[in-house]
Amino acid sequence: MRRGAIVALISIALVVAAVTTAIAYFVDWLPEQASEERQGIDLVFWVTVAICIFFFAVVAAVSIYSGVKFRVRPDDESDGPPIHGHTGLEIMWTAIPTLCVTVIAVLSAVVLAQNDSPKGEPLRVEVLAQQYAWQFTYPDQGGIKATNLYVPIDRSTKLVLRARDVLHSFWVPEFGQKQDAVPGIVTTLVITPTKTGEYRVICTELCGLGHALMRTRAIVLSQADFDAWAREQPQGGGSAGGGDGGEIDAEGIFTANCAACHTLSKAGASGQVGPNLDELSLAPPAVEQQIRRGGGGMPPFGDQLSDGEIEALVQYLTGSNE
């Protein structure tokens, strides 16, 4: 190979690498980083991107150079030199990629092991996923239930995920971690938030008609604020939005269970999957039956809500306060 060709190849590769690096650097690729696990993920991401840029630049340089330099002149019927192979080159382009993927594999395995293990004693949160809502239970805080995920900053939280009906998947882009909730088995996920704020919890596994709306919020608080929040919550047993002792909060039940799919202006809900409840007026028995048994794409809630909760919900929806 002539020296000129090598110089040209290297220059093209450098230009391509510079352009792709600029794209990688100036475009805001990754979402805001709000967990320790994301730091590891981002490290693997950028190391892999760097390796990818190297290979892309090599391929682009050879293609561009060949396309310009070896383009045939019109009416040139000749053949190229009969080069059948080059053992040295072939060994090289087997060995170098093997080396690069080994680096990625080792780094990934280390980061994975770190991200799997909580730092110190984790806060345990039980996550129940169902069509199309999330429910979070805090067994060590007296069994508080919530529809948003409240977690303290700088402390590992271990999510214990269960699914009631079909597959769901828990993801907060800013935390990076993701885990399916699988009916019949229990899965776990560790997150260690590093920034206070509000983030989106997204279901990423297709779970039916309301999949796109199966969203809630993850709220990262300082330890003091988290403790204060935990103290304010009714303790134990009751379902989302209401304790079993006092008044049942029908609007809370609606927000937790129905708002993902149904529009109802007085609850501030704007779900698009099921019928718009502002435009629907049904007799209380029909509403109760629909809630208990489901149907028409709607899952049944008969075994998820208590009789009192269903009654409160029916009253809330039909406006009949007897």
Partner: protein, 646 residues
């Protein structure tokens, strides 16, 4: 089948009055018989269901769900195939009637009507395959545009959610099962026997049967729209699949028919390649397209039964109340994913290895150079075949499977990039110092290399578990699969169609239109799919009809690009139709290729070769003075030249 013989009788209702020379038009193999036999078999299936239920005392006797599965989705297609004549020979043989001797009267196509019959000529079947798959490609593409129409704005404003879920499900299934996999089978069906110097495939009747299973599968998939239910994604994960409306069984059964077709074709290719190579065609002299189809066929016969099982289990859970995946009855939900991906990961190689073969042919021919590192190219195919069976769980890094499986599966996944990389570097080295002709097939092949490199590198990123955990089930995945399947497989299919169009039709296509088609597709493909990487990493999940406002601008841009991308295929369709009808006549060897298909006229005679070709050298000896790959028609002159072997 032959219309001149009474021997291939199948129907028990034999015309009593006379043994006619030509059987009654209702009893003759063909569309009229297919029509009434479809109905007859449907009624038979219905009778079986009602009869057995009545015998067992299961109320109600007439359960339409069971009737549809047994009568409409199983028996009726069998009736259709019998009526068309796909089983005539075997049935005659089985019941002891004289079989129709293979007089080759069913070979060749003399009018467009011959493409709508059972035809045992591999060249006719190849064209049947390619045109049918292009039809389903256009149908699948239309569904993709409807998906993009919905996604143009963040709200749900175009279709309802169930319809939307079915749009992307049927889009993906049509593209995978009715386009990419059978399109490769079709191209290979046409050129592979020619390339190895064989007069036909090893089992011509099986070949015809495997083609005719395809339209059945395609119609079933499209029909699932009218019995809604195929809305659980092409992966059809349990338990959502079992919970879907009834139409989900259409999806399950369509996959069975397409899978059966795929397995039969693969067996046919394997036997053809192993037993029917021309004298002198050793394994190390086979063109890389033949190598590619050899490895692909091995993948198909080993892996495809697994997806058949996964779809049967899902359907049985619904129809027969089994509990394979019902966790409340002890079923194992993750079992579905393991079985499904044990097929569907090798399936991604089923969808790309034949493309590797096509690209190797095209790049060598249009660079006028031998393929660089021929043996390593063939061996890397075999390496991909072996490694391909050890990576399936990388689709399940976040699924909750046994945690220890993740690192070994990551290692094999990353390692499989190495043989793939070898192929890319060898193609680039083939270009080096070549005499590169930028004709349409070459443009598509080079477009493939660049797109596939991007898709391959994003595949390496996905192989790293921590990155995969972040981006799995987001638009990053959608971007990756379209870079490898659209920029990968589809581009190689176009390369193959343009490359062999003169051979298949005997006419040249319009080069200018082909180039416009290429550049328009290349640009809009990248503008459509590259931004999806970004919005995926940022937090947009896949399979949603509505999304956050902040992704609105990118999605609008993507949708507009995708409409132009869709329009670019109209140029291709126009070019193909007009050129096939009235393009300039093609010479036998327009690209000055060396492999055997270019030694026969375009299109080849009905029996391919007047005499058996003699293979005397390697397939890509461009630039080697006097080298020949094969000799035909008593051309002994070349034999005196020294034959170089690698």
């Amino acid at each position: 089948m032959s219309e001149t013989t009474t021997a291939n009788s199948h129907s028990p209702h034999h015309a009593p009055h006379e043994p006619p020379k030509q059987r009654h038009w209702l009893l003759r193999a063909g569309w009229p018989r297919a029509f009434w036999m479809t109905g007859l078999f449907f009624l038979l299936g219905m009778g079986i269901v009602v009869g057995l239920r009545a015998l067992g005392g299961y109320e109600p006797y007439l359960d339409w769900e069971v009737v549809i599965v047994v009568a409409a989705l199983t028996m009726a297609p069998l009736g259709f195939l019998s009526g068309l004549g796909a089983f005539d020979y075997w049935v005659s043989y089985a019941i002891g009637r004289p079989t129709a001797p293979e007089d080759h009267s069913a070979h060749g196509a003399y009018s467009w009507k011959d493409y709508f019959r059972i035809n045992t000529d591999h060249k006719v079947i190849g064209i049947q395959y390619v045109t049918t798959t292009i039809f389903f490609f256009l149908a699948g593409g239309l569904l993709a545009l409807l998906v993009r129409a919905e996604l143009a704005r963040p709200e749900t404003d175009f279709v309802d959610t169930q319809t939307y879920n079915e749009l992307f499900t049927v889009h993906a299934s049509l593209m995978i099962f009715l386009f990419i996999i059978p399109a490769f089978a079709g191209l290979a069906n046409y050129v592979l026997p020619l390339m190895i110097g064989a007069p036909d495939m090893a089992f011509p009747r099986l070949n015809a049967l495997s083609y005719w299973l395809l339209p059945i599968a395609g119609v079933m998939l499209l029909a699932s729209f009218f019995f809604p239910g195929a809305g659980a994604g092409w992966t059809n994960y349990a338990p959502l699949a079992v919970e879907q409306p009834f139409g989900n069984v259409f999806f399950s059964m369509a996959v069975q028919w397409a899978g059966a077709s795929s397995i039969m074709t693969a067996l046919n290719f394997l036997v053809t390649i192993i037993t029917m190579r021309a004298p002198g065609m050793t394994f190390w002299r086979m063109p890389l397209l033949v190598w590619a189809n050899f490895t692909t066929s091995l993948l198909v016969v080993i892996a495809t039964p697994f997806i058949a099982a996964s779809q049967f289990f899902v359907m049985f859970d619904r129809v027969m109340h089994t509990n394979f995946f019902d966790f409340t009855e002890g079923g194992y939900v993750l079992g579905y994913q393991h079985i499904f991906w044990f097929y569907s990961h090798p399936a991604v190689y089923i969808m790309i290895l034949p493309g590797f073969g096509i690209v190797s042919e095209v790049i060598s021919t249009f660079s006028r150079k031998p393929i660089f590192g021929y043996r390593l190219m063939a061996l890397s195919l075999m390496a991909i075949l072996v490694l391909g069976f050890s990576v399936w769980a990388h689709h399940m890094f976040v699924s909750g499977m046994a945690a220890y499986l993740r690192v070994p599966m990551m290692v094999t996944t990353l390692l499989i990039a190495v043989p793939t990389g070898i192929k890319v570097f060898s193609w680039l080295a083939t270009l080096w110092e070549g005499r590169i002709h930028f004709s349409a097939p070459m443009l598509w092949a080079l477009g493939f290399v660049t797109s596939f490199v991007i898709g391959g590198l994003s595949g390496v990123m996905l192989g790293a578990v921590p990155i995969d955990i972040h981006v799995s089930d987001t638009y990053f995945i959608v971007a990756h699969i379209h870079y490898v399947l659209l920029g990968g497989s589809l581009f190689t299919i176009f390369a193959g169609i343009y490359y062999w169009f003169p051979k298949m039709t005997g006419r040249m296509y319009n080069e200018r239109l082909a180039k416009v088609h290429f550049w328009l597709t290349l640009v809009t493909f990248n503008t459509t799919f590259f931004p999806m990487h970004l919005i995926g990493i940022q937090g947009m999940p896949r399979r949603v009809a509505t999304y956050e406002e902040r992704f609105g601008d990118w999605n609008l841009f993507i949708s507009i690009s995708s409409f132009v991308l869709g329009a670019s295929f109209m140029i291709f369709v126009y070019n193909m139709i007009v050129s096939w009808k009235s393009g300039p006549l093609a010479p036998a060897n327009p690209w000055r290729g060396m492999t055997i298909e270019w030694l026969v006229p375009s299109p080849p005679p009905v029996f391919n070769f007047d005499e058996v070709p003699q293979v005397v050298g390697n397939p890509y000896e461009y630039g080697v003075k006097g080298a020949r790959h094969a000799i035909l028609n008593g051309d002994r002159a070349a034999q005196v030249e020294p034959v170089r072997t690698q």
